[in-house]
Symmetry: C2
Subunit: 202 residues, 2 copies
């Protein structure tokens, strides 16, 4: 016997789709759907409008892989940014994190993941050709590889360094060390060793 349809088909469909969002399971999707129904004017209608608008406008930047409502994206066309530096990230979420931190005022390049033999992700699956092409532009003098400090991230960083050898750019990577506010006795040995090795004069 099929489980009894609990809510109307429109709400069931909404729950089913909400459950596909990262961070929401079937249970929290039901709670979210109910919150939407209860707060129709403050939440359901505005979210519906915002989603419809996003469907219409949001595009992936053909230059850097960022998402924005224009292509090339606002960052790629921002004349106040240093066009000589490209910051390579795995994912748009990393780009957002660096932007929130105002860590750098350059352009980006979104790889779309990392090399992973386990997940069958080779160089063709990532936006590496586009990076090499951009790095060959004489305007570009430095590529900062800002991938995660994971095994896959570091493997990818080494592969990129190789690919960029003939592009005439300096290739750099993020410093390892103690996170700001980090407590030493909560950090792993690799981080502590790196922080000692890469110590800076006071």
């Amino acid at each position: 016997m099929a489980p009894r349809a609990v809510a109307g088909p429109e709400i069931e469909r909404l729950i089913q789709l909400l459950a596909k969002l990262p961070g929401l399971g079937p249970r929290s999707a039901r709670r979210a759907a109910l919150a939407l129904v209860k707060r129709r004017e403050q939440l359901m209608e505005p979210l519906s409008a915002a989603l419809a608008r996003a469907v219409e406008t949001v595009r992936v930047c053909s230059e850097c892989g960022n998402v924005d409502s224009c292509d090339p994206c606002t960052i790629c066309t921002d004349s106040k940014r240093d066009a000589s530096v490209i910051v390579v990230v795995e994912d748009v979420s990393d780009l957002w994190a660096l932007e929130r931190a105002e860590a750098v005022n350059a352009r980006y390049h979104v790889l779309g993941g990392t090399l992973s033999a386990l997940d069958g992700i080779g160089p063709e699956e990532l936006n590496i050709d586009g990076l090499v092409r951009r790095a060959c532009d004489p305007l570009v003098t430095e590529v900062i590889i800002a991938v995660n400090a994971t095994v896959e991230g570091q493997t990818t960083a080494h592969y990129l360094t190789d690919q960029l050898r003939d592009a005439g750019v300096a290739v750099s990577r993020l410093a390892h060390g103690v996170p700001v506010g980090g407590e030493l006795d909560y950090l792993d040995e690799g981080t502590l060793s790196a922080a000692i090795r890469q110590r800076r004069p006071f």
Copy 2:
């Protein structure tokens, strides 16, 4: 200085609204927005359509407080249900839980919360008048009070019992006891005491 606008205004708006859903904070709302953008055809477009459809169709049932795409709702007009029993719940999510469990084949009445002096929720804030009116229908012979086993729930149950005294219905409440599959040494003393007191012959 205002924080740098990280994504375009359309995505920022989407993130802002997603962050208002229960279970999603600002960080997971960003991840959810990004998942939508990346899975435009499989996720963003269908969710946008489902939300628009829900905005159009979903209504609160004027009889029982359930949400559905018709009013009165499918449950209230379902002739295969026992019209002599009304199950009183705090919230639509409780109605859904009882329906998923196929615990009862009757009609419901959604209170919309519980009495709470702390939160300033008195009888006027809850859908109690509607319940008393429905209970006075000669067809109705029993009201099952299926509120949560919390202090507020039990306070509300006592208040409802009082209000229903002259309605000519039997008033019952859920049994307390050991949850099916529950392990005794994880249960609180109140539950264990209730399970012993309300023990059933084998």
